[in-house]
């Protein structure tokens, strides 16, 4: 796995995992205990005003969408705290900034001592909202599909003429960068490009935009696809982009690191593991309220792995339920083959590779030494 990137604020790990700092959970898992996830990745809604061509949420529609009320979202956090979940990232399958629960959710998580991160397009992330949440956040990652306004609008919205969405996002990102400096906040601010092979001409402008904005990092990652290849990603084409990606990394300066998720880009569409252990440590919850082990299984197709809906049942009861552990056990059993039964490169990929290597004694997970990396509670 890749090494940490040294930033002004500490070591940043984006292309690997941090299980070495949660060996208490690894040991308990190995002993067969029912462990609480270290981290939950979720959304407060399935709604989104963007229409990104790379969006995996297109493949994540379940039977029904429940509206997540603020009270349910806050109870969810109470349950996370009660069982020992250490962080929550608002990413998953919707644009959480659109939810009325967004601000109170983040503020309540901070009160409970749960670290919070958020990925957003920043279109509806206006100064008032930024002021309310930024002091409580560990990281914010802005989805920026390209470095030029026209390409950005083509990929994330209706067409190249709609550059107003780019202008709006950039204005809000700049506001956050300024606020962080003004208040000396510890939050990490980054932009992310989801690289589809045909977008190679956007790599260098994207890296330059990261430098111009003065964010802490600009990361370029692969595009996930489902096992039916709905998005039509040809993973063999990534290799032809290695030169451009290396060139982009070389543009890093003291303030802004340009980071390429090499491990995921090189791993392509076939994981090294057959069993899928990652969800026990990094659980995903849909903006529909659906609790399933991974976002890979939100679609109705994977209903056998659906555990429940936290707007209908308390999360702590779902976590304790037989069906939660039955779903997790299924993914750890010979009945499940991660190489053929789910989409490519899930959010639990790095963790799953490490846990599989641990289980096979290929490489045991050892306790981390020295200063903890940034965002240590986000696996």
């Amino acid at each position: 796995m890749s090494e940490a990137i040294q930033t002004q604020e500490g070591a940043l790990i984006l292309d690997s995992h941090k299980l070495s700092y949660h060996t208490d959970r690894v040991d308990a898992w190995e002993a067969g205990e029912h462990i609480a996830p270290v981290s939950v990745d979720m959304s407060l809604t399935r709604a989104c005003g963007a229409m990104c061509s790379f969006c995996y949420a297109m493949m994540q529609e379940s039977q029904s969408r429940s509206s997540i009320k603020t009270a349910s979202a806050l109870h969810l956090l109470d349950d996370f705290s009660a069982i020992g979940i250490r962080s929550v990232s608002l990413v998953s399958d919707g644009e959480s900034t659109l939810s009325k629960a967004y601000v109170p959710f983040i503020q309540h998580a901070a009160e409970l001592g749960i670290d919070v991160g958020n990925a957003t397009n920043a279109w509806e992330w206006e100064p008032e909202k930024i002021e309310q949440v930024l002091p409580h956040m560990t990281w914010i990652r802005f989805t920026v599909a390209a470095g030029t306004p026209e390409s950005y609008a083509s990929i994330m919205y209706k067409g190249p003429e709609h550059t107003e969405v780019f202008d709006r996002a950039i204005k809000h990102i700049k506001y956050a960068v300024d606020l962080k400096k003004r208040k000396g906040l510890s939050v990490t601010l980054g932009i992310q490009m989801v690289l589809m092979p045909h977008l190679k001409d956007e790599i260098i402008p994207f890296a330059q935009l990261g430098l111009d904005l003065g964010v802490d990092y600009a990361v370029i990652k692969h595009c996930s696809d489902d096992e039916q290849h709905t998005l039509g990603i040809d993973y063999s084409q990534y290799e032809s982009l290695y030169g451009l990606l290396t060139q982009a990394e070389g543009m890093s300066n003291e303030q802004t690191k340009i980071i390429v998720k090499w491990d995921k880009i090189k791993d392509g569409d076939k994981p090294s593991y057959s069993r899928f252990y990652g969800p026990q440590f990094l659980l995903q919850i849909s903006g529909s309220g659906l609790v399933a082990p991974s976002g890979m299984f939100f679609n109705a197709r994977y209903s056998k792995l659906h555990i429940g809906n936290f707007t209908e049942d308390r999360f702590i009861d779902l976590w304790k339920s037989e069906r939660y552990w039955r779903a997790m056990d299924y993914l750890s059993s010979p009945s499940f083959d991660a190489q053929t039964m789910m989409g490519t490169l899930p959010i639990q990929h790095y963790v799953s590779v490490a846990l599989d290597n641990h289980a096979k004694s290929v490489e045991r997970i050892r306790p981390g030494i020295g200063k903890k990396p940034l965002h240590v509670n986000f696996l």
């Binding site: 229409m51 990104c52 297109m58 057959s274 659906h306 555990i307 779902l318 289980a359 096979k360």
Partner: protein
């Protein structure tokens, strides 16, 4: 408690020749006839709509089943079909397409019969 890490390197079973030699129609009849023998899976609740050569059995739920019930129902069904017909069978439900009207303008379609 015991862990199940012992399965890390075990190969996932694939269908035996007896399943593979059947036609698509014959496989589907076999699956639905088998389902009908078990009162837990009444035909008016679920029905197999596709039974593929590679062991994938696609199920359609006749009535909606809540999120807290459908997981157990379908895992029970898969276990039953594995035990009754072939260890290589895998149950999936019919997929649902994206309901986001904006994203649908992209024209990307989710295969409803996979």
């Amino acid at each position: 408690m015991s862990n199940n890490l012992c399965y890390a390197s075990i190969k996932t079973p694939t269908p035996e020749p007896a399943w593979c030699q059947l036609s698509n129609e014959a496989r589907l009849v076999l699956v639905n006839n088998t389902i009908s023998t078990n009162p837990a899976f009444q035909r008016n609740t679920l029905i197999a709509v596709e039974a593929k050569l590679d062991g994938q059995v696609i199920i359609s739920l006749v009535e909606a089943v809540s999120a807290d019930k459908r997981g157990a129902l379908l895992l029970d069904l898969e276990s039953f079909l594995k035990a009754s017909i072939d260890q290589g069978l895998v149950v999936w439900l019919e997929p649902v397409g994206d309901r986001n009207s904006l994203r649908n303008l992209r024209g990307i379609e989710i295969e409803v019969k996979s």
